[in-house]
Amino acid sequence: MAVGLRLSSELVAGVLGGAALGWGFDRLLSTSPWGLIVFSLLGFTAGVINVMRAAGVMAKQSERL
């Protein structure tokens, strides 16, 4: 259960973080709704990458050092 919770929260955090970033971007530069769209998609991508990292499918960032 702990692993499942970890993976799902990783994906949710990705989308939420991306959406929040896009919303702030739109507010600052008044480019609504493009920032929200683009950053949500990017956040989703980053979330999927984080899920794959957490599951051990993909190499971690720290291995590049």
Binding site: A2, L5, V12, G14, G17, L42, G47, Q61, S62
Partner: protein
């Protein structure tokens, strides 16, 4: 009759500590429960007399010490032990405040996003500053994967940067969402008992079902309260391990 399931998360001001820049600094029920959690930990850690054959409280203190020390040793290695105070404080604070929050009519500190974000940012900034001071500018190689064609490199680096900064988000949202959802579910099922009980004799028999569910949920919440503290601590260890031993 239906109790508001969100009401338990209300922040109320107990007394004011003064103003900073026109913003009132209030001592709230949340702060009171944070102090209570710290007080309980302090009593647990300091009060028991040290005996060769440990008593009940001394056993709890020693067990929790061993538990966290083993967790750090197994995930971050021997060098990770210099972060023992940080991980132990985080684990004990979250575990105790979650367990206190299970008691009816109490307030759960970690059911507020701002609290968990603060804890997660503490870990994130520790890892970031320690990683930067240990690896120097090589730290930024984190964001540049090798063997990527130059024309999509900016996009890939951008996504890598976002995914790096999502770590504290998922770290904090996990704890917050678990505590919030668990307490709302408990409250909703408990209010079903009162609703059914108000119908009459038939309702009393019907109320047995949500009562059983509430008891089962309370047991589950007890597990979740401890498990989330454990997950938070072990993820802290994993992030610290990334900073201490890069390339593993």
């Amino acid at each position: 009759m239906a109790a508001d399931p969100i009401h338990q998360f209300q922040i109320t001001k107990l007394f004011s500590l003064g103003h900073i820049g026109g913003q009132e600094i209030a001592f709230t029920n949340s702060s009171a429960y944070m102090f209570a959690a710290v007080g309980i930990i302090a009593i647990l850690m300091l009060a028991p007399s040290r005996q060769l054959v440990p008593g009940r409280f001394q056993s709890i203190a020693e067990l929790s010490y061993e538990f966290v020390a083993n967790m750090i040793r197994s995930t971050a290695g021997k060098e990770g032990l210099k972060f023992f105070p940080l991980v132990f404080s985080l684990f004990m604070f979250i575990a105790v405040s979650n367990l206190v929050g299970i008691i009816p009519y109490t307030f759960t500190v970690s059911s507020h996003l701002i609290v968990t974000v603060t804890l997660a940012m503490l870990v994130f900034l520790t890892v970031l500053i320690y990683g930067l001071s240990k690896n120097g500018l090589k730290f930024f190689k984190l964001f540049v994967p090798s063997g990527v064609p130059i024309y999509i490199l900016p996009l890939v680096v951008f996504i890598e940067v976002i995914s790096f900064f999502l770590k504290p988000v998922s770290h904090s949202v996990r704890l917050f969402a678990n505590m919030l959802a668990g307490h709302i579910a408990l409250k909703v099922f408990a209010s079903f008992i009162a609703m059914l009980g108000a119908i009459g004799v038939v309702g009393w028999f019907g109320a047995v079902l949500p009562l059983g569910l509430t008891i089962a949920l309370t047991a589950l919440e007890l597990l979740v309260a401890f498990l989330q503290a454990y997950v938070f601590a072990i993820l802290t260890c994993i992030y610290l391990n990334d900073a201490i031993h890069p390339g593993h």
